[in-house]
Amino acid sequence: MAAPGKLKKTFRDPLGKNNPVFAQILGICSTLAVTNKLENTVIMSLGVLFTTSLSGLTISLIRKWIPARVRMMVETLIIASFVIIVDITLRAYMPEVWQQLGPYVGLIITNCIIMGRAEAFALNNPPGLSLVDGIASGIGYSYVLIVIAFFRELLGTGEVWGFTVLGSWWTNWSIMIMPPGAFFMLAIFIWFVKGMIIKEEEAAK
């Protein structure tokens, strides 16, 4: 088992400084596409969390037997298998959400976060650590999505999770639930976080 220090760092990095979404700008296709409703976002996040953690574990377990030349293909196949599990589970138990998410569930396969973690981490690290890394990356991805979805749904429809929060005095900013709103919201989020990081660095000096 890895030293506790490394384990902690592995877990903490993707949540803050090395966040896959706002620091590495990975996997933003789905960040933008599914965040117009909080409920869909949470389910999508769970799917991604499931896939990142288990694919990290699997790839790490068999990393010594994967030939270097075809490793991308092997990784893709492993990831795709887990995505299929997510897809058929959603289809069976939550058909409505499945229909709304449409092709974006399948597109978890090409979500660069998962591939990136597999390439950068799971191929060179023991299974336990890779599992932790996968879970942390998944959580790092999820909380950004959930924050963005919260604001988009609130401003766009005056609701949170389908419940009306802002009263009838609120005029819906329908732009927020349409594509441009997604781009603006993510940009503002990145701006906010980067601003804080810059401030911290200046304070450290």
Binding site: I25, L26, G27, I28, C29, S30, L32, A33, M72, M73, T76, L77, A80, S81, V83, I84, D87, I88, G102, P103, G106, L107, I109, T110, N111, C112, M115, I175, M178, P179, P180, G181, A182, F183, F184, L186, A187, I190, W191, F192, K194, G195, I198
Partner: protein, 195 residues
């Protein structure tokens, strides 16, 4: 039949732009759009691969997966078809034309992981297009993506000389501009409905 294909073609370029209204292909869009020259190379490669793989995947889906009841395997199969096709094209180009290979070669491997390519194939299944419709949808989506990345590369060249708030540099400002482009493209909506 042909009329609907033409409508789908234009809708995929303007009203339902794969990048600006479906958010697909953002990763390579953000990282490659720094220069016009590389954007053109990647854009052309995307158009070609998208049009061909959507038709190929349609054939595979309707003649192999559906008859055997294997629809749930479509993710894996589509990805394999795309990867194999890209590999094949790379080898052919390398043999046939060195100039073309130098221009497009490095972009082809990138394309396999471009989510827009897989996205087009998945949309085609969900919307139940015919073969011709799938092909024109793929072609239109590719051209739409090409348009978007070209416009962005042009704007980013000018942007180098602009003063941008510190925290917005890089990805932030690119996203805001993309948002504005999406706003502009929303002006087309209602012209051609698609669904």
């Amino acid at each position: 039949m042909t009329a609907s294909s033409i409508a789908i073609f234009f809708a995929a370029i303007f009203t339902n732009n794969i990048l600006l209204s479906n958010y697909l292909g953002m990763c390579s869009f953000l990282s490659v759009s720094r220069e016009i020259k590389t954007s053109v190379g990647l854009g052309v490669a995307v158009i070609f691969v998208m049009a061909s793989t959507s038709a190929l995947n349609w054939l595979v889906y309707n003649y192999i997966l559906l008859p055997f009841g294997l629809e749930y395997l479509r993710f894996i199969v589509f990805i394999i078809v795309i990867a194999a096709f890209v590999q094949l094209v790379e080898m052919v180009i390398e043999r046939v034309s060195e100039v073309l290979y130098a221009a497009l070669g490095i972009f082809l491997p990138l394309i396999t992981v471009n989510c827009a390519i897989l996205g087009v194939s998945l949309f085609m299944v969900i919307r139940e297009y015919s073969l011709l419709e799938s092909f024109t949808f793929g072609l239109g989506s590719g051209i739409g993506w090409f348009l978007a990345i070209m416009a962005m590369a042009g704007i980013r060249q000018k942007l180098k000389r602009a003063r941008i708030p510190h925290g917005l540099e890089g990805a932030g400002i690119t996203l805001i501009i993309t948002g504005m482009m999406a706003l502009a493209f929303m002006g087309f909506s209602g012209m051609l409905p698609i669904g």
